[in-house]
Symmetry: C2
Subunit: 480 residues, 2 copies
């Protein structure tokens, strides 16, 4: 047969790979010149793309040109130091390089045998992080539990809920014909993924019972205990509590120890979602947020948020790996192999929803080794200092006010002129392109969120943001 | 405050990025020198890693050294042209570069507003593929449906099952207190992810009813119709059928049109999983496998298998996007924005399990533009030709036999000496490191799978594999 190829050769890849690396370096060097929030309108990007795919291959230079001309205007710059919206998602250069190696190797980590290093480095690096963060013993792979990388805290929380559901149902995997209802608990400030997980698991959103919060928007253990008691009295089966270390709205810290004591007493699975704030536990002075975690059944945090690791990388830990594996394991003939049958290895496909998996431990390994724990701590502390500084400015300003405690690096604040004014303020700030903020509602009040965790954010960016906010507010005040 | 940084500078990234690009090019140039299946034993890799993470950062050269010395022996080389195991997972250079740009941009595509280009390019490229593959109109974004990138066919099938469950339950999102049981259907040859999805969705593995197969291991529409009728008579609610275009075990082609007619008549959701073989539809002569797809409610295929795109990239299409969105949408205050409220945009977080999402359309865009449809077709046709050639050799050999039809690029075969002999043959072949094959069981018989779809597999690799197989079999025969 004829031997032909449309593949890019390794030599071309060397040349074009350098171009792309330089393109990325250039991007970071000029990133502050872009409007942070993309200013395009719906349909703008698609309207510039050809209706049909190319029949013949095109030169790589054309793709890079269109990347600049068509795609870049539609980018919201999450890696800009002026990105203060949502929670950040880090993409440090070491993590990009780790991920590039992962792309290059192109291995699957669904079974130990399909690339032993992919599984063993993952187990090892998750143990490293557990040690560096002072996580309790039960989450180490050398105990009854262990860690696994998930794509996101949403998926980790879903896996936790499923394992809790199955533990409560003795692993029958089926909700049909149950005598009682299973119920779960969280505060209204828990991440929306908990409610979504309830629906996916077939448990129903209405069976997520909302626990009252205190003045700092943290879950009240006494209310949790009360609800569980009432639900049991009503013939329901309490099965799952989702607590949060650092809620999305306001960075509230649910009191893990007191909640854990209730859960232990009531034999209810306690899952702790520390997606954003978990990384803070690398610094001993912030570990108070994790106090009582030894009472939890599962825990997750996202290095892809605040640990300078590009999406996706959520670290999910369970205290009892058997509960998770019993929930998610299915072994068809075509995946059977000697290593699995020996029982001496971990097959991570049994720890997650999908079968396939990327070699994501590489980027964590690159990040931890490049920064060292010391380097990670330094930048986390800087972000917290900057947020505290910002909170001080808000407090000292006569027209602005803080809307919630700022325990770490998220500041909830607003102008005193009311919801409509703050909505206009937010729109005008984001349209300026100079910074990007998002909002929430606290006790029904429209609240601005200043989220400081983008890797390259320095004091000058926070100073400029505050100046822009106060100046724009003054303009709006003058406009009446 | 002191200004310090542990971050890698853009200049360092330029230098080290080139090193990593060269490392990958070198890897591909020498990939045939590695044993395809890693030969390490459980624990070998971990035992070489330090027990604790580094307190201080380390030079990048040390990381690359350990990558070579510690990690590489634990790699099973999925990108080797001698990889004939499972199904392949492509990682072409253009896809690696597209993914590198995605890592560099580090944007989130959960909402249109969080990077409009991420959403619009995804919608557009999925429409491109639908057109190039001749998929029915209902899967285009311009109709009632549309496409979305999922991490894997497992997740796509789960989303399809959830939408089917919810359509059957009028979107109540809750299985408690149902009158009847919901049931689903697949053949025993459907992917294991269907059974896993049943458990995740709370429907129970035992409510996946197995439809009989014909001689080619394809689902029998008459048996499906019979089962549905019997289940309805028993008071159950048939809700979901999972058909497969190219089963994992033997590449069997379920007859979509006939199955679809049963599903339409019975008002049951038809999901079609073409994870591996879907890519073949890029070639008109292989589109018979997709005949009747206009009767399906959802469809998925994996460019990360056979379309030279690195994991993860599953393209998932639905005919009725409202059913999917009604199933998975939750909108907390902190995600509200003007674009979403206008209704003029797609927010892909409502089309998937997790909230966060990478800019994965970039790598598809790079692949399609680099190869053109012509280039993709060329390599797919070559793989099919090579598999047909291999099947011919098996048929012509007196000691080997085909175990199933080989419609495309998977050949199921075995030596006539029985299960135990074939198991020993497989072990010896894989231990040689010269190639990697996996097995399945067909009608209880241990069967070898020759899966030809790795990008760089050429005629010489298939010839060498067959020589190695027959030579090793002869050795084993002589050993008695």
């Amino acid at each position: 047969m004829e031997q032909r190829t449309y593949h890019m050769s390794p030599e071309e890849f060397r040349r074009l790979g350098r171009q792309v690396v330089d393109w990325i370096a250039d991007y970071y060097e000029r990133i502050e010149s872009y409007p942070v929030l993309s200013q395009v309108r719906p349909g703008d990007i698609r309207s510039r793309l050809p209706a049909d795919p190319p029949a013949q291959g095109e030169p790589f230079a054309d793709i890079l040109r269109d990347l600049d001309e068509i795609i870049m205007p539609g980018i919201t710059h999450w890696q800009s130091p002026n990105f203060f919206a949502f929670f950040p998602t880090g993409a440090s250069f070491p993590s990009i390089l780790g991920d590039l190696v992962s792309s290059g190797l192109g291995v699957q980590g669904m079974l130990w045998a399909t690339s032993p290093a992919c599984t063993e480095l993952e187990t090892h690096v998750l143990d490293w992080l557990a040690k560096a963060m002072g996580l309790p013993e039960q989450f180490l792979s050398t105990s009854t539990g262990g860690g696994v990388i998930q794509d996101s805290a949403s998926s980790a929380s879903l896996c936790a809920l499923l394992a809790a559901r199955e533990r409560a149902l003795d692993y029958r995997g089926n909700l049909h014909g149950l005598d009682g209802r299973l119920v779960a608990y969280a505060s209204a400030h828990a991440h929306s993924s908990i409610e979504k997980a309830m629906m996916i698991a077939g448990l129903g959103r209405e069976n997520l019972h909302l626990v009252a919060v205190d003045d700092s928007y943290a879950m009240r253990p006494d209310d949790l205990a009360r609800l569980i008691k009432a639900d049991r009295a009503a013939g329901l089966t309490p099965a799952f509590v989702a607590a949060t270390i650092g809620t999305t709205s306001s960075n509230a810290m649910d009191p893990i120890r007191a909640l854990g004591e209730v859960c232990r007493r009531e034999d209810v699975w306690l899952h702790v979602d520390a997606a954003m704030s978990g990384t803070a536990a690398l610094c001993p002075e912030f570990r108070w947020t994790h106090d009582g975690l030894e009472l939890a059944d599962s825990y997750c945090f996202n290095p892809h948020k605040w640990m300078f690791t590009n999406f996706d990388a959520d670290c999910f830990y369970v205290a009892d790996r058997a509960a998770l594996i019993n929930t998610l394991s299915i072994l068809p003939e075509y995946l059977k192999n000697q290593a699995t049958e020996s029982g001496a290895v971990i097959d991570y496909r049994d720890w997650q929803i999908p079968l396939g998996r990327r070699f994501r431990a590489l980027k964590l390994w690159f990040v931890i080794r490049h920064y060292g724990i010391e380097g990670l701590q330094y930048h986390i502390r800087r972000h917290v200092e900057l947020a505290q500084q910002f909170a001080g400015w808000v407090k000292a300003h006569e027209r602005f006010e803080l809307m919630a405690p700022a325990p770490l690096n998220l500041v909830c604040f607003r102008h005193k002129a009311g919801d409509e004014f703050n909505e206009r303020l937010l729109t005008r700030l984001n349209e300026s392109g100079e910074l990007y903020l998002t909002h929430t509602k606290l006790d029904g009040i429209f609240t601005l969120r200043m989220s400081i965790g983008q890797m390259y954010t320095e004091e000058r960016h926070v100073v400029a943001a505050w100046e822009k906010i106060t100046r724009t507010a003054a303009e709006l005040e003058n406009e009446g």
